[in-house]
Symmetry: C2
Subunit: 396 residues, 2 copies
Amino acid sequence: MNLPALLDERRARAALSRAVEPGDEHAGRWLHRYGATGFLDRLLHTDGTSPPGTSAGDDPFPGTGHKRVASWRLRATAADPDRDLATIQDLGGRFLIPGDTEWPRQLDDLEDARPIGLWVRGPADLRTWALRSVALVGARACTPYGAHTAGDLATGLARKGWVVVSGAAYGIDGAAHRGALAADGATVAVLACGVDSPYPRGHDQLIRRITEQGLVVGELPPDSHPTPSRFILRNRVIAALTRGTVVIEAQHRSGSLVTVRAAARLGRHTMGVPGPVTSALSAGVHELLRGEAALVTDADEIVELVGDMGQLAPTRRGPVLPRDLLAPAAAHILEAVPARGPTPTTVIARRAGTTPDETLAKLYELHSLGFVERRGEGWELTRPSASTPNARRGGP
Amino acid sequence: MNLPALLDERRARAALSRAVEPGDEHAGRWLHRYGATGFLDRLLHTDGTSPPGTSAGDDPFPGTGHKRVASWRLRATAADPDRDLATIQDLGGRFLIPGDTEWPRQLDDLEDARPIGLWVRGPADLRTWALRSVALVGARACTPYGAHTAGDLATGLARKGWVVVSGAAYGIDGAAHRGALAADGATVAVLACGVDSPYPRGHDQLIRRITEQGLVVGELPPDSHPTPSRFILRNRVIAALTRGTVVIEAQHRSGSLVTVRAAARLGRHTMGVPGPVTSALSAGVHELLRGEAALVTDADEIVELVGDMGQLAPTRRGPVLPRDLLAPAAAHILEAVPARGPTPTTVIARRAGTTPDETLAKLYELHSLGFVERRGEGWELTRPSASTPNARRGGP
C-alpha cells in the first residue's frame, strides 16, 4: 500500500477493514488509542523502519501477540483502500465510518468491538432506519412453521413502519427479509462477507432485491468471503444495530442464541417466539424464554416491547426536526405525500417523479423522523398532537 | 332432615355440602363463626322458630341476602346426610372433613371458600398424595399436539413419583389422567359433580379406573350434577390441592386460565406449555407466559419448579416419620420393598399379598413420606443421607 504523507481517515479505515478481522478488540483498543491513521501508520512502518514518535526496536503494540500483529501488518500492506472505495462507489454504495451523518451511533455500544467501518449498498439512510429496527433471526434449517412465522412477523413489522434486520441466510433470515419486502417494507441484510459478493449464492436474487429496496451492510471490504467466525461476529452487529432481537427457531447452542445473548449484553430487548415443545428447533427458543427473553407471538407484541423506550415514545406525534432541516431528497418526497388519507408508495413515487424503491427508502426515514405514519399499505402525514409535539429526544 | 339433639360435625358438614354451593364465601363465613353444627342449627331453626341463643324474629345471618339464605334452608331441610354418608360408604369411599388425618391442609388456603368437606373414592391417602402433586389442566377441545403433550408430561411426572391432578374432562384432562395411569402412576380426578355419578359419561371407564388406581374427589354429595359454575369453582380445589398448575392448551378467556389464576392467588406455582403461535389453543397459554407463569416443556422442568420449596427440600433424603408411626397397611407394603434394586409394583404387591392398585397407592404415600423412591418403572428404599436425615418440616 502506497501512503500519502497525510493519511485520510476514511482511507485508513477502509485499509484497516481489510487488515483486521471483524470484532477484533485488540485492534479496537489500538484504533481507539492512535486513531485510524495513527494505527495504520504504526502497522506499516514497523517492518524494520520506525514509526513517528517511537525509537527503532520498540514494540509498537505491547500486549498484543506478535502473530496477531504480523497478520494485521501483512494484510494492511496488501490492502488497496482506493481500489475498494472505488469498487463500492461503482456499485452505487458507500463506506461509512464513525462521525458520518449516516453512521448508526448505537454501534458505539460495541466499544472496542465496534466495526471499523460499514460497507453499505441501498437507497436508504442506515442511521435513520436503524432507529426503528428489529432483528429477526433463527435457524437456517427451519421448519415450515418457523418460516411462516418469520414471514408473518416481518410483514406485520413492516406494516407498522418498522425495519426488519436479518442476516440474509437460508431459513428464518430469508423468510424475514421476504416478508418485509412482500409488504413493500424496509429491510436490512447484514452480511458476513463483502457486500459485492453476497452469500449464500442461492440468495443472490434476494440480496439484489434488498440492495434495491432496502440496505445491504457488511464490515468486510469488497470481495471478502464469509468464515464461521465471521458469521458469529456479524451477529453482534445485528444485535447492536437494532432495538431488539427476536429469535424464531433455534436449536440448543445455535448461532441465533449468540445474537440474542449479544443483544441482551448490549441492553437491547430480547424476544423469542414459542413453538411446539416436541420440536427440537424450538428448544433453544424455549430455553431463552425460561430466562430473560420475552415471549412474543405477533408484531404488535414486538412493537409494544421495543417501542417502549424513553427515547422513542410510542405515543410520539409530529416531527422532531424542522422541515427545512431535511435533506433535499427527503424533503422532496415529503412534499409528494398528499395532505389527506393513506397513499400507496407507488402514487407518492409518481407524484415525486422518482422510483418506488427510492421513495420507500425516504418514507421510512421520514417515518423515523416523525413526519409520516404508515397506515396499512399506504402512508400519511403525521397529525401533530397538541400535548406531545416534540416528545422524542434522540436515538437509542 | 331429622336432627338429634347433638349434631355431629361430620353429619352437619355432609348436610351443608348439599345445602351450600361449592365456594360460597358467605356460607364459609357463617361456618367459620358458628361451626358446622351451629350454622346448620341456625339454618334449620329459623323457619318460624328461634334458634338457641337468639330471640324470635332476629335475622340469624345479617348481611347475607334472604334469597341466598332461603336457598340454603330449603336444601338443608331436604338433605339426608345419613343416607349420603351410607352411599359413600357403600361405594368404599369416605367423606373427609377438616381435622381428619387425611384432610389436605393446603385447602385451608382457600379460607372462606374452603370446601365444607370432600367426598373421596380410591385406595390412597389424599393428604399424603397432595403433598407431591401437580395439576395438569387445559382445553376440552384440545389438538393432537396438546393431548400428546399432556400425556407425555403426566407420564414423566408419574415416573418421578409425582401425583397428577386434573378434572377428568375430555381433552387435556383425560390425556393427563391416562398418561399417569399408563405409567402405573398416581392420579387424582377432582369432579364438579358427585363422585358416584361421574361426568362426562364418555369418561365412565376412565373415572372408574382412577377410582381403583388413584383418587376421585369432589365437594358435591352423591348424585349431584355438574353446572357451569360448579366447573369453575371446582378449579379452585384443583389449584389449592396441588403445588402448582400447568396449563397445556387454552384459548383466550378459557376455564383453564381461571384455574391457573386461582393457583397464582394461592401462591402456587403457575406454569404453561408453549405451542405454535398459529394455534388459537395456545394463545391463552402464551398470554399467561407473558405474565407470571413459567414456561415448561417437560416433566423435569416442572419438578424443578414445584420441588423447589422450602418445606419439601428437593435434596431431601430419608423418611420424615419413624417407621413405627406408619399406618399398618403402609408399613406392610414398606416391608415388602426389597432392600436392593428398583422393584416393579406388581412384584411388591405379590410379596405383600395385596393388589397392585392398593400397593401403588401406599407406595406413593411412602414416597411422599420419604421412605421409598421411584426409579424408572420400579421402586426402591430411600438411601438415608448423613447430612439431611430429617430435612422436611411439614406439608405445603
